[in-house]
């Protein structure tokens, strides 16, 4: 009997101790994927596009305004620019100089990453369709994953003026996109409470619901 009590105490103690350690060390709990930074099929650079070129987030992730999902741009959106832009300006200039030196027409310069986009579209480096090539959409790796029982609506947050970086962090500095915030329920609820207490950006009153059914249904 004493042994049984002891073992129960030991197990409970171990669990409690573990909880204290996790809390104290600020370790993420299971299911919290903060810092997740998967390798993407194309080394797309947010610092270049969003940072240097200052393309607005919503240019590519346009669904965030209208849908619960922010959405990834279809490959055709990339091609809006990359039909013309195949490499960095310096690479193009280098080739132009080389061509000038060799007295020939400059060759199309396509960086190895943009070449992947062209291949996915079934195009060659000059932007011409490759006969017989199949169009295979790029399979990006999703960084921000919510569990299936949680529903998040981008549209509502964009509509009230929550900035993208509030949740996604400084994406314009991330060479590879990384999960910036916890995306746990406590983190969501804290922000909602804060918004209700302090109001929305611009001082408007917030109606950030903390009902369970706001996200779980």
């Amino acid at each position: 009997m004493r042994r049984r009590t002891l073992s129960i105490v030991a197990v409970v103690g171990a669990l409690l101790g573990g909880a204290v350690v996790i809390q104290g060390a600020d370790l993420p709990l299971p299911g919290n994927h903060i810092g997740y930074e998967p390798v993407q099929p194309i080394a797309f650079s947010h610092p270049l596009h969003a940072g240097q070129l200052e393309i607005p987030c919503l240019y590519c992730h346009s669904a965030a305004e209208r849908s619960r999902h922010a959405g990834l741009p279809s490959d055709a959106v990339c091609m809006n620019c990359h039909r013309a832009v195949g490499a960095t300006l310096s690479a193009v200039q280098e080739e132009a100089e080389r061509a000038k030196a060799a007295r020939r027409q400059p060759l199309p310069v396509v960086s190895s990453e943009i070449a992947k986009l062209y291949r996915a579209q079934g195009l060659d480096d000059t932007g011409q369709p490759v006969p017989g090539a199949r169009v295979t959409p790029i399979r990006w790796v999703r960084v921000h994953n919510l569990p299936d029982f949680a529903y998040f609506d981008h549209r509502s947050h964009v509509a009230v003026g929550v900035a993208c970086e509030t949740c996604h962090g400084p994406v314009d500095t991330m060479a590879r996109v990384r999960q910036h915030a916890d995306l746990t329920m406590g983190w969501c609820v804290n922000c909602h409470r804060r918004a209700n207490a302090t109001g929305l950006p611009g001082g408007r009153p917030a109606r950030a619901s903390t009902d369970c059914s706001t996200c779980h249904y």
Partner: protein
């Protein structure tokens, strides 16, 4: 007062009530012994942990914990090479189209997510359905994702290419044409301009070809009778909204007859009690089976099957005499009580010009009598429209019977069946099976293999209505369009495209429909509308109205009508059979749809099968109880052996069989429901769900006879339990906790129009009292406060809301065995209550009450949940948090309305194809989780998010629940009660009929009901009861 009414749901309950005892534990006669939950006795044992055991357990735990530490596999997102215009991930797109569930041609708006349809809704602007959808229409969605659909053509039992099929069929038909052999094209009702044009072109190309059209639920006699009386073979369109007195004779017009949604709309329009004076049409139903329509009638008069003709003759004679017209002979005695008959006639005659008789008996002479009665009442031109008739039933029984004779005589060389299954659903189907092998060329177009395709050599896939281009003209003057909502699965091809490919140059489906639009529809558009209408606007709206040439009306041929001599009643006092369709199955074409198979019949509450319905007296005569197997034997030795089910309200000679069951291929449902050790199959392998009543249909006197055939009924021995819903989920108080006299709580408030006109609060048993409240008013609703009101006077119990809810909220099908175990998962159920009619033994009155989570303000479920998995939301609704629920089921036990459902299993989601029907906006619940109506919270969020996005407040009626949207009777009103101008707030505040079920519990439900008012004349019998 209405609290004197004894309302009951099962016969056992009634008997207990009549003895004056309170119901404690309902006896559920139909529950098999094995279905009772038997908890294995667990002595617990001593939880002693040895050192070795402790180490083993902790090691195992550690290993498990470590194993769970890995990151979940990466989730990939492929946004697509080129996103289609208007398709945004996560955002629904809505397309107007036309329902393919039956030929009624209701307008739909279908919600598509990520390129696939996920929910069917009604098109509010459609002239036929005006926003309603029936249960079948809702369920057609699941038919799209049916893994048993035919995807590719089959020739001689082997998959074939369309090229091979076309070559073979062309050669075959060419050979038949060269030899002058007869070609027969057999279809159901065809009313689409483009298909009709293709059929006409085909008939022109093959001079020996004829088009045979039949309806499994035939209205051929109505057309034939109108050919006699009006000179045109049409089914008149019915405008019930113009009617003040409606007599339904054997016509289930709210449930299954011709165009139920359209009729329900009209019927409902005549029942608006809000105005002054309140408008309530008087609806009398005279019928043999207890149909949905009969259950909603102000007064139902039962007669025995086979005596409808006698009734019609008497009715016509009486009304014709009153109108000074020649009257038909009445050789048979009046089959109902003279007082009831006189009262009906008096009502009809008093409101002539605004009264109508609808008759569903498929007998030309009966229908001629009815036409005469309607002519005498002045219904033509007002309520009945012959000039712009209904085209929803254009079949010709005579033509089909002649076709069967031809087949048997061996004079047909080629036959093409399209979208029909006559072997299973037509009178003479059995003869077809024998005769078909003698036909040289046998072609079938079908959505899936069935009884008819089994006898054919070439079988090609038809598209589902949601993947096809099509048009329809359900009523003359309205052309309704069907557009594809998803890339077709497999390689289906419509009848239209097939006929064109086999008789001329092949064209694409879209080109065919557009060509018809340009050639036949555009010129018919009314002046002024043609410029505004384009193909695109027509598709967007889903329909166009077109001009109807008004031919000079031929005078009503009184002599022809008066010469009608309806079939005399069957002699003797033997059993008489009535074959009736059910709301879910109709003619059986959707028998492979599990949603419809599990939908409880609105009256019998039976799921998964049919039964032999008998009156109580009949059951005593046969010495059978519910579930005893009974054999029905008809002419020529056709039999059906089915369990008996005692149905109140039937005639004592009448035996009712429900059509549409016993279909080949329904043994696919053997494994439906959870797979566990005690599971029992819903249907035996190789068997069918239910038994077919089709063999009892006969072709007589120019039409198919559904009722009135003499049969022999005998006990077959053995039992087969009937899986019925609503023998559980009861609202009474268990005897041991009820206060004295408080065991019975009437959930339904009911009154008569006479009483209601005097006192708008009539029907409420006592004024609602609000005593001191122990509950603090702690639920604040700063934004919306969602509330719902259900009008019991409007609700017909048609069950469209049940299937709509199932589709919207990903509610699984549980199978027959689980229904026995009371584990169905319907969030929305319709409680059906019977009440005796005093002084009329065997007659019953029926009330339908939709029951869903009442979203109580003082919710009893919330207080008992140990993990706070069910909590109150700030919009007044009660939320269920699946990820928090640990499945104690305390909440369900504490719910007075019995609306909570528990997931005993992970319900079968093995069919990956069928899973495409799942609504991506609603969590698919797992085992061990409680669930219940959420007031379609996902739809509320969607509406709110859209309003927020557009920067405007949410308008009343913008957020609609799934049940509300589909209701053909607009019986459900939903909205924000915090907005005093909203429809729901005004109803709650102003309508004296408003009450809440079990109000005395002070749980303060958010769902209210409006008293059921029956238009019972103050002087009529049965009125005293309600005082």
């Amino acid at each position: 007062m209405s609290d004197a009414v004894i309302r009951w749901t099962t016969l056992e309950e009634r008997d207990v009530l009549r003895q004056g005892a309170a119901v404690s534990q309902p006896t559920v006669g139909a529950t098999p012994a094995s279905a009772r939950d038997e908890t294995p006795v667990d002595d617990g044992g001593d939880l002693r942990l040895s050192r070795r055991g402790f180490l083993a357990a902790s090691g195992f735990t550690m290993a498990g914990a470590l194993a769970a530490c890995g990151r979940a596999p990466p989730v990939h997102s492929a946004p697509g090479a080129m996103a289609p215009e208007d398709v945004v991930a996560g955002r629904a797109t809505w397309y107007a189209t036309t329902c393919g569930g039956c030929a009624a041609g209701c307008g739909l708006i279908v919600r598509c997510r990520d390129g696939r349809p996920v929910k069917v809704e009604g098109n509010p602007r459609h002239p036929v359905s005006a926003g309603g959808v029936c249960a079948v229409g809702q369920a057609t969605l699941l038919g799209l994702y049916d893994s048993r659909r035919l995807l590719r053509p089959v020739v001689d039992g082997r998959d074939a290419t369309w090229k091979a099929v076309d070559e073979r069929v062309r050669t075959d038909l060419e050979r038949v044409r060269a030899t002058g052999g007869a070609i027969r094209l057999v279809t159901g009702t065809v009313n689409g301009p483009s298909t009709s044009a293709a059929v006409a072109a085909f008939l022109a190309a093959f001079p020996t070809a004829r088009h045979v059209s039949y309806d499994a639920l035939s209205a051929s006699a109505i057309s034939d009778a109108h050919r006699r009386t009006h000179g045109v073979r049409v089914v008149p369109r019915v405008f019930l909204d113009r009617a003040e007195t409606i007599l339904g004779l054997d016509a289930d017009f709210l449930g299954t007859w011709i165009s139920p949604v359209e009729h329900t709309r009209g019927w409902r329009a005549g029942r608006t009690l809000g105005g002054a004076p309140p408008r309530l049409s008087h609806h009398v139903q005279v019928e043999a089976a207890l149909t949905l329509t009969g259950s909603n009638a102000d007064r139902r008069v039962r007669l025995d099957a086979g005596t409808e003709g006698a009734f019609a003759a008497h009715l016509a004679a009486r009304l014709a005499k009153a109108a000074g017209l020649p009257a038909p002979a009445t050789p048979d005695p009046l089959p109902v009580e003279a007082a009831a008959f006189d009262s009906v006639v008096a009502h009809l005659w008093a409101t002539r010009g605004r009264s109508v008789v609808l008759c569903g008996t498929n007998d030309v002479d009966v229908q001629a009598c009815i036409a005469l009665a309607n002519e005498a009442l002045g219904a033509y031109g007002g309520i009945l429209d012959v000039a712009a008739p209904s085209l929803q039933r254009t079949g010709d029984d005579g033509g089909f019977a002649a076709f069967v004779d031809e087949l048997e005589a061996g004079t047909v060389s080629a036959v093409i069946f399209a979208g029909c299954n006559p072997v299973a659903d037509a009178a003479g189907g059995a003869r077809l099976t024998a005769a078909l092998p003698r036909v040289a060329v046998r072609i079938g177009l079908a959505e899936r293999h069935d009884e008819t395709t089994a006898a054919l050599t070439v079988v090609t896939p038809l598209p589902h209505a949601f993947e096809a281009w099509d048009d329809a003209e359900p009523v003359r003057g309205v052309v309704s369009f069907t557009q594809p909502l998803v890339e077709p699965f497999g390689e289906p091809r419509s009848l239209r495209a097939c006929l064109v490919a086999w008789s001329g140059a092949a064209m694409s489906e879209l080109d065919l429909v557009r060509a018809t639009w340009r050639r036949d529809v555009l010129p018919r558009l009314p002046a002024g509308a043609a410029e505004a209408s384009s193909w695109r606007t027509a598709l967007r709206d889903g329909f166009v109205r077109v001009d109807v040439p008004r031919a000079p009306a031929r005078p009503f041929d009184v002599a022809a009508a008066a010469a009608a001599a309806p079939r005399v009643r069957p002699p003797g006092d033997g059993w008489v059979l009535a074959c009736v369709p059910s709301v879910a199955m109709l003619d059986g074409r959707h028998a492979q749809n599990p949603w419809l198979q599990e939908l409880p019949d609105p009256i019998t509450k039976q799921t998964w099968g049919n039964a032999v319905l008998l009156s109580e007296v009949s059951a005593r005569r046969l010495r059978v109880a519910d579930g005893d197997r009974v054999r029905v034997t008809g002419k020529d030795g056709v039999t059906a052996t089915l369990p008996a089910l005692i149905q109140p309200g039937l005639g004592d000679r009448t035996v009712v069989l429900v059509l549409g069951y016993g279909r080949a291929g329904t043994d696919r449902f053997a494994g439906v429901g959870p797979a566990w050790i005690e599971a029992k199959p819903t249907v035996v392998r190789g068997g069918t769900v239910g038994a077919s009543a089709t063999p009892f249909l006969r072709f007589e006197r120019g039409a198919v006879v559904y009722g009135g055939s003499p049969v022999v009924v005998e006990r077959a021995g053995g039992r087969e339990d009937v899986a019925r819903a609503q023998v559980y989920d009861r609202l009474d108080v268990p005897k041991n906790v009820a206060p004295h006299g408080g065991e019975r709580r009437d959930p339904v408030h009911e009154t008569t129009l006479a009483a209601f006109t005097k006192d708008r609060r009539a029907g409420h048993p006592h004024a609602a009292h609000s005593a001191a409240d122990l509950w603090p008013a702690e639920h604040r609703t700063p934004g919306e406060r969602w509330r719902m009101v259900v009008d019991l006077t409007a609700c017909t119990g048609c069950s469209a809301c049940v299937v709509s809810c199932q589709a919207e909220n990903n509610i699984p099908v549980v199978g027959k065995d689980e229904v026995f175990r009371r584990r169905d998962l319907a969030w929305m159920r319709i409680d059906r209550y019977y009440a005796d009619v005093p002084g009329a033994t065997g007659e019953v009155e029926v009330v339908h009450q939709p029951m869903l989570c009442q979203h109580c303000e003082n919710a009893p479920c919330e207080t008992v949940c140990p993990v706070l998995a069910t909590v109150h939301n700030s919009d007044g609704t009660n939320g269920q948090v699946y990820n928090r629920c640990v499945g104690t089921r305390y909440c369900a036990n504490n719910c007075p309305y019995k609306v909570r459902r528990f997931n005993w299993f992970d319900y079968a989601r093995h069919d990956r194809f069928a899973d495409l029907v799942l609504n991506p906006d609603v969590t698919v619940r797992t085992r061990g989780v409680m669930e219940k109506c959420s007031m379609c919270v996902q739809r509320l969020h969607e509406a709110r998010a859209e309003a927020r996005r557009l920067g405007r407040p949410l308008a009343d009626g913008e957020a609609r629940t799934a049940c509300q949207q589909s209701c053909p009777a607009s019986a459900i009103v939903f909205g924000d009660a915090n907005d005093p101008r909203s429809a729901v707030a005004r109803l709650i505040a102003q309508d004296a009929r408003h009450y809440r079920v079990l109000e005395e519990l002070n749980v303060k439900p958010s769902v209210g009901y409006l008293t059921k008012v029956r238009n019972r004349p103050a002087d009529g019998e049965g009125a005293e009861r309600h005082g």
